[in-house]
Symmetry: D2
Subunit: 139 residues, 4 copies
């Protein structure tokens, strides 16, 4: 049975704004870092050579709803699941909370691309071995 | 008849990433700056004192779809419209393009809040004068 | 005998730029986060109420020399020492390295300020208890 | 007789922090953007192909002293001069002010590098034509 990948992150001072809270755009940085940590947890990197291709996972869509504020040095609990594995795409859902209080809910869709330097970036099928390993986080 | 607010922005080097393109999270910074420029265009600031209240507009939701890459020093054409003016909230839509090529489509929802220092942040009705002035950008 | 405070940090994808390396300005974010972690290690926060004052530590100077590149997902070893404790100021030195290779050397000077909301920011003497606890990191 | 390159920039909300002022690290982003604008003003790009080489200008040193705070939507006046043109390096000085009030003074040193994708980044002599054009900003 699958489980979300869980991590934590302290809210950094530079991610706050003059309203005294974590800036909304910084949630997208934290979402990306959680996504990449999940990918490392199955032995890959977000920018790695697999089967002779240099694969990267640019985002095609990202969204976030903000339920309550996060403040400097708060510890965010982050849960990230994969809601769908497409032929070339990965669709994540993330929950941010602080001591049980819901802070934000986000989604990211990434597409597997060959990003060989000097060539146009082109989407390619997800290698079977990556797909298989990521199923452990499929919601 | 209403029209979108239009602005342009050069993609800054520090907003690119190692994939050679503008990082997806930076679009949310550019969206915010366009939102604030729109608010200034009707004579207000995103963080200003109106009728004895210190008003700010924290975001409750933000999303973006990425259609094609933007690169360092590209000039982004940005169109921003208001799709709905609620009692306490503003809902924007944004289109990013480069020389007619669609780059990204975004949405932001902001809530009018009283952010008096030392008091809890609380949502308040949009002042009538702001509402009225913003109708010019209502899609 | 004093020792530097040591921490590590993985280079995040969003901190890279199109040259394929960690962007120089992001080192200042990582420097700040190490500074704040050091302050937490002696039981304080960078933005905390001490003796009835709301203290914060804005920077008055920051510099960094970049010796060799850091790349996405590299693990930075960070050493931070205090080179001088003034009456109102703290002066830090930081060394960044990756597996023994020197990456960057930085300095930050911060001033202890009372940042009571609604009042002008004013520098104040460092509380004696903070000074004493920080001497453990004095180089 | 040489003159500094002058530009202006509005302080963006996302560049403020919970102390209510522009975050110190964001000055390095604004310094970079001014440096790149100066380079564009003589007809080059910070990442461009010249004489068959893909040239970029990574920073080897950066520093800034902060004299007084900048706040959201303040207009920064920025003056940037070149204090020295080396064989492979460029050394800039920057002054930030708001309505005549000194805000910050910064320095950047950049090295001309060949950053051909897939090859190690290596420093190379500044092309003579770039050197010549930049002398107009030599302090």
């Amino acid at each position: 049975m699958s489980k979300p990948f869980r991590t934590t992150r302290l809210v950094e001072f530079h991610d706050t704004d003059m309203a005294g809270i974590m800036h909304f755009a910084s949630f997208f940085h934290y979402m990306e870092s959680a996504e990449h940590e999940l990918i490392r947890s199955v032995g890959y990197s977000v920018h790695s050579r697999v089967d002779g291709q240099l694969l990267s996972f640019p985002r095609v869509a990202a969204s976030c709803e903000f339920h309550s504020p996060a403040r400097s040095e708060d510890i965010l609990d982050i849960e990230i699941s994969i809601v769908r594995i497409g032929n070339k795409s990965l669709h994540y859902q993330l929950e941010f909370s602080i001591e049980g209080r819901k802070v934000a809910t986000g989604k990211i869709s990434s597409v597997c691309c060959n990003v060989e330097p000097g060539q146009p970036m082109v989407s390619v099928p997800l290698p079977a071995e990556i797909k298989e390993k990521l199923t452990r986080y499929l919601a």
